[in-house]
């Protein structure tokens, strides 16, 4: 158990560092896949099997494919030769490092002397049934709002990414788009 925990933790974190430091986007994406898998494995160790499956399906599956498509569409070989780091990267790293230190210290401080009841740790939790029931009772409204988010994202992505259907020429002053009683704001009189 300890071995697997350390394995997934070290591999997951190391590949997260690789994601952040790789010049080549494709390499970064593959390391990201490894991190997703390790996080999924960690879910299994926490006895959250359903979420582990969702993690693999959605992240390692759907999101990853999305990234790979995007890379195929936009990746250019010369991108690796461009400057990779922001100008203020040292400041950013120091600030983020301090924040990270604060997060870790706060977590450790919160749990010094903390002992979880041992029997609680092995029971299966979040079975498909339990999650399904919670989704349609306690969390029914958040569930609906999540669907709204997906709708908004979908509409938005289509709006941005679809081919320009409109003609390249701007319509002239006699805008066909205007109701007859409306004048354009900037029309000189």
């Amino acid at each position: 158990m300890v071995f697997f925990f350390l394995l997934f933790a070290i591999v997951g974190l190391a590949s997260a560092v690789m994601v952040v430091t790789r010049k080549n986007v494709m390499h970064a994406a593959l390391f990201l896949l490894l991190t997703f898998a390790c996080v999924g494995a960690t879910y299994v160790m926490l006895r959250a099997e359903v979420l582990a499956a969702v993690q693999v399906l959605v992240y390692a599956g759907a999101v990853m494919v999305l990234f790979l498509f995007a890379i195929l569409l936009v990746n250019m070989p010369e991108a690796v030769r461009l400057r990779q780091w922001t100008r203020q990267s040292t400041v950013a790293v120091v600030l983020a490092g301090l924040t990270g230190l604060w997060l870790i210290i706060a977590t450790v401080r919160a749990f010094t002397g903390f002992a979880a009841p041992p029997e609680a740790a092995t029971q299966p939790l979040g079975t498909p049934r339990a999650i399904g029931e919670a989704l349609f009772s306690d969390y029914v409204l958040p569930f609906e709002i999540a669907s709204l988010i997906l709708l908004a994202a979908m509409v938005g992505a289509i709006v941005l990414a679809r081919e320009t259907a409109r003609e390249e020429e701007r319509p002239d002053e006699a805008l066909t788009d205007l109701p007859p009683d409306t004048q354009e704001d900037q029309q000189p009189v």
Binding site: G12, V17, V20, V25, A28, A29, T35, V39, T42, Y43, L46, R47, A48, L51, V54, Q55, V58, Y59, A62, F67, A70, V74, M76, A79, L82, R83, W85, T86, S89, A92, V93, L95, A96, T99, V108, A110, F111, F114, A116, P118, A120, A121, Q123, L125, G126, A130, I131, A134, L135, D138, Y139, F143, A146, I149, L150, A153, M154, A157, L160, A161
Partner: protein, 100 residues
């Protein structure tokens, strides 16, 4: 059995790795990937806390978060592709029209 706080520390380290990635990288695609790392870290926290509290609520929240993260990736990549079509680059150095 590994104590829950260990998972929380891993989650904190993962979160901050992602945050550093967002802050220092110039490649928009890698910034997006770093964002996904941050969300993964938070989800790991939720699952760990759910285990600690023995509460299914945390799992449901992660379920919803994964949906949100997917939506976020879609919108982010859509914006990115539109920029690319316009300017043929994903390096945000090329995006400083508003520096006065």
């Amino acid at each position: 059995m590994i104590p829950v706080p260990y998972y929380l520390v891993i989650s904190a380290v993962l979160f901050i790795t992602g945050a550093i990635g967002v802050l220092i990288r110039r490649n928009a695609l890698i910034m997006l990937m770093s964002l996904e790392l941050m969300l993964n870290a938070v989800n790991l926290s939720f699952v760990a806390y759910a285990r600690m509290l023995n509460d299914t609520g945390g799992h449901v929240i992660v379920f919803l978060n994964i949906a949100v993260a997917a939506a976020e990736a879609v919108v982010g990549l859509a914006i990115l592709l539109t920029i690319f079509r316009n300017r043929e680059t994903v390096n945000i150095d090329h995006l400083n029209l508003m520096r006065h």
